[in-house]
Assembly symmetry: C2
């Protein structure tokens, strides 16, 4: 701070208020602080004039967009590498990857120029990125040279790619979310450790009990395999029971033998599935709340600190207190928010300069960062263009009657009924010619509705920036129109070649029913709430995707090609055992799960999604590990992932709770 002041000495230290303004450099520095405060950035940068310009360039939207583009490109390379969805030669993907790495390195060098040396080298994020770049390059070279002599190895560095996504500073929201989540997981671990140990201990007790009770009975499962004879198998089955995935099957043999034994399983479920899982949830929820509070408090402190730094640069002494002159304030605001309208700027100034004294005091100056984040909606009550164009027609009694009718509640109700009838028609067989014509009728009714509304309400107000529901309504109808026209074109040309287009048409036709939501107030409230917590959910979803990506890459390297899917009729020889004799007579083959494999990125993601949903996960996974011959590590990876997911899933729940609980 002392340094910042020294750099800004000219302006702030001026002993008596002079008419001459601060230098452009001072203003730029102050604006950088304000901008950081506004966007909750926390970067320490050098305060020399050229570094500040470099810092502006670093934060420029184009630079950020380029970085995001390269991150996205790097991640999407997995689609084109072996095992690929759209195969490309190794040369192409490796050139693209080197390009990405160069971009990342450039970005890092840029950052190193901006920030003080000490800070740069202390930040684990930067070290992380550099190590990952080096490791990826080494891996690329080894893999490439071995490939050249036709030896296939593992491209292990691909699993590290999400490092770039996590460690390059994203938008404020994302960054807070990521930091918060990882920190919470780290902080929660010690608290949860003892609960977890007690949980494991309880599993051990129950496993031993099961071994003693059922081990010597010679019971058999419904599939005919021996039941509860091996302690490791018992422990695994009981672990699966915690996730409820093998209830009631795991109980049936013992229950068939003697109904008293069901008490053992009921006790187990109550203690381990219900009580322990609730305790895990409680501990995590509690920790999450605590750390979230700390995180927000820290954020508020940093913001204030930045604003005080900016104030210290621009302040001049008026009377007994330090203030920022109105002219300086305006110049600053113009730099921080170049796109701001002059009326908006005047409004902000009026709020900040309470007494209209021509200067802004410290308290009001600090509020600037928050003021800039407030969205201002300018409302103009305009006349309808038709009224201006042909007033006598628009204000005729017939026209007024139409307008009154459209604004009436019954108008909405009539259209709700029409939508319901439409739903019935959609459910009916569409091959009937009458129903096919009805489609056109409904569509014309909807378009009439939109036209009537545009006739009644001022079009620019109707399609205002904040009129989400009007946009939603109109877009659905336009999409339906396009879909129906496309459908008709395809049918008249009697080429049914493109299945995808037809599917989209069908989906769009059904989506038209969403219009009902628009007309029921309470539904609109619920959906608006969900949209408001949407950004939080989306960043959380992004985090889940990062974890998915890493596991998908690892899964592809380990299990690629182990399970084959041939055709949906299962007629090819070996199709019923997914091309792998080891899968004979397993639940995996019986339930036709062959397509749940790690043969490409899309399949891997779908398998991971299924594991997240939990049900049947034990049937999807262990067969695979059996295929891999003692790949017990697979199970460990899964367990680890599952615990992670438990944590993440609960967090998602807690987040949505946090969003709704006032």
């Amino acid at each position: 701070m002392a340094r910042a002041r020294a750099a800004a000495g000219l302006c702030a230290r001026d002993p008596q208020p002079s008419e001459e303004s601060c230098t452009q450099e001072d203003l730029l520095l102050a604006a950088a602080y304000v901008s950081d405060a506004e966007h909750n950035r926390n970067v320490r940068f050098e305060t020399s004039p050229q570094t500040i310009r470099l810092y502006y360039f670093y934060n420029h939207w184009a630079m950020r967009a380029a970085t995001n583009f390269f991150i996205f490109l790097d991640l999407s390379l997995a689609l084109f590498e072996e095992p690929a969805l759209f195969p490309l030669p190794f040369l192409a993907t490796s050139i693209a990857e080197v390009l990405c790495l160069t971009a990342f390195f450039g970005r890092l060098v840029h950052f190193a120029k901006v920030t003080p040396q000490m800070v740069f080298w202390k930040d684990t994020k930067n070290i992380c990125i550099m190590v990952t770049i080096v490791l990826t390059l080494i891996d690329l070279i080894i893999y490439g040279s071995l490939e050249a002599v036709s030896i296939h190895t593992v491209r292990w560095s691909r699993a590290l790619r999400p490092v770039f996504l996590i460690n390059f500073p994203q938008s404020r929201q994302v960054r807070i979310q990521i930091r918060r989540t990882f920190r919470s997981i780290r902080n929660t671990l010690p608290d949860i450790l003892y609960v977890f140990l007690l949980f494991l201990f309880s599993m051990l007790i129950f496993s031993l009990m099961a071994l003693k009770l059922f081990g010597d009975r010679g019971l058999r499962t419904a599939g005919g395999s021996p039941y509860f004879t091996d302690i490791l198998e018992i422990a695994f089955e009981l672990y699966v029971l915690v996730t409820t995935a093998n209830s009631p099957d795991v109980m049936m043999p013992a229950y068939d033998f003697n109904w008293w034994y069901s008490l053992y399983f009921i006790t187990y479920i109550i203690i381990n599935t219900y009580i322990f899982m609730s305790v895990f949830l409680a501990v995590i929820y509690n920790n999450y709340r605590k750390h979230l509070k700390n995180e927000i408090r820290k954020l508020a402190y940093l913001k204030r600190h930045k604003m005080i730094q900016a104030f210290d640069i621009l302040k001049v002494k008026v009377g007994s207190e330090f203030v920022v002159k109105e002219a300086e304030w305006k110049r600053l605001a113009k730099i921080v928010a170049p796109n701001i309208s002059s009326s908006h700027l005047e409004l902000l100034l009026k709020i900040s300069d309470e007494g209209q004294k021509g200067h802004v005091d410290k308290t009001n100056f600090i509020r600037l960062a928050d003021l800039l984040n407030i969205q201002v909606v300018t409302m103009d009550v305009k006349r309808h263009p038709l009224e201006a164009w042909m007033p006598q027609v628009y204000t005729s009694s017939l026209s007024l009657f139409i307008q009154k009718m459209v604004q009436h509640r019954i108008f909405v109700w009539i259209y709700d009924v029409i939508i319901l009838i439409n739903a019935v028609f959609i459910a009916l067989d569409e091959k009937n010619a009458l129903i096919s014509y009805a489609e056109w009728l409904f569509l014309s009714l909807y378009i009439t509705e939109i036209l009537l509304k545009l006739y009644t309400y001022e079009p620019r107000a109707y399609f205002g920036r904040k009129q989400f529901w009007n946009w939603f309504d109109t877009l659905i109808i336009i999409a339906a129109l396009v879909a129906t026209v496309a459908n008709a074109t395809i049918q008249s040309a009697s080429r049914r070649s493109s299945q995808q287009i037809l599917d989209i048409v069908l989906v769009l036709r059904v989506l038209r029913l969403l219009r009902v939501i628009v007309s029921i107030e309470r539904f609109r409230v619920i959906v608006t709430t969900l949209i408001n917590i949407g950004p939080t959910m989306l960043t959380f979803g992004g985090l889940v995707l990062v974890v998915y990506y890493t596991f998908a890459i690892i899964g592809m390297e380990m299990f690629h090609g182990k399970v084959q899917f041939f055709d949906s009729n299962f007629t090819t020889p070996g199709a019923l055992v997914c091309g792998n004799p080891a899968l004979k007579d397993t639940a995996f083959a019986r339930d036709r799960y062959c397509k749940n494999n790690f043969n490409d990125l899309a399949s891997s993601f779908i398998v991971l999604m299924e594991l997240t949903v939990v049900n049947q996960w034990h049937n999807i996974l262990p067969r695979r590990s059996r295929v891999h011959r003692g790949a017990a590590c697979c199970l460990e990876v899964t367990s680890g992932r599952r615990i992670n997911y438990g944590v993440l899933g609960l967090r998602g729940c807690a987040t949505s709770l946090g969003g709704l609980v006032p």
Copy 2:
């Protein structure tokens, strides 16, 4: 209140403080108020002397115990009635039921004598009980007379039995819990209604979409049945998918056909399984918190009100303020808590009479109800009896060394290691003679430990009322001793007839490992926390049992005998289809679920428990409804139950959360 004062006029309205004390009737009335406040009872009773005595008799523990006994007897009758676990003739069960009804009626009449007429008839609880008694009698008579002419009908009134459990005032904890739960469910319904409607709407949209996308493809499920061709079947499958029970199976045919279709299911799971279920959780959690706060506030108000009533009866004027004299206060306390020790009473008085002025003022008097609820532990530092008996031996250097050793931390660690070795031995084969001898070694080691501890610590302090963990430890070892001796006796007599005894022996031997919990501080803390929230969880469990009971009775009446279980080897003809040809080729028969039936109370409870665990519920239920030929209502009942359970389950989660979140 005016009436209470009038009745107590003699004492409270005495214009000048006299030496003569209040009458015994006044004291009894005041004590009744204090007792109600202490136990959070909220009963309005008449204040005439004989009614107060009747009220005391009504609240007597023996009367309450008798009522609970008859409630329990009435509920357990289902075990002996057709379809019975232990069959008894209809005459026996009907006589027992009439006896119970008489007892309930007597209790109700007793209550009517105590409470004012108006209050009695306004209380829906009393009306409920009376209507249920009459309905049960009618049902008994109809069923009995039809049975006499060999016509079998439905004993529908049995499903009403939980009414008695809910409506007879139980202990404070249970009552609050039940009232709170039912009120919360009722209050939450309107809030949740629109979310539920939106959820149904979303299900409709997705069902229509599925029909359009997959209906005409001619796809088949793994079982070979047509896939997604009927809108009702689609809706049911999608409803099951919300509970995740049929994931990934429901997706596989479409996914096999084209991998793009998996996006449909992933979108569905994200929207309906994750987002909507989280919103339900959030709405319910929010409401529960809100109503719980109100409930507690109301309880505190009522308590204060009762105490003021008691104060108004006993108050005399001393100086400018009304107070209760020390002698009166002591007589009152003796009536409210007859078992209180005189030292405890003196302690309470010392707290209440702050200035030791010989009387208790209003503020301190009101605190009495809470003071009585505080448990006081009297700690006597006594000498070890051995020290008194033979001091020179007990204080010898060897004896002191032993005592020091036992108190040392290493002593605990050594025994932890012994327990772990014991666990390994339990897991090993017990037929080995060496291991059989090792059992005795471990047992003697444990008994030595207990004896050493009793030698070191004062036995009465060691087995004090609050020394839960010492009791726990000792009981486990005694149980293990009994178990091992019993095992040896059975083996030496070489009669292995009683399987149950051997099972208990085995379980107890494993439970011995629980001693590890005692020696690890952190584990003890977690278990103590769980025990502290135990009462809440237990009452909640009781509520679940009430719901189970009603559904079990309905299930038995509807589905009794529809599914048969023959033997655990499935060798009897028809055993593989559970004695019902309609179950041929269903997942129900394939997974050998025959024992999941409604043929007796125990089986019904186990089936309901399995449904609560959710997994495979769609395989347990719909086959049953198919058996019952169009018993669509079964599904509705299930859905209703499931929603109820959803709510209850979430509440359980919220309750345990509430218990843990400070």
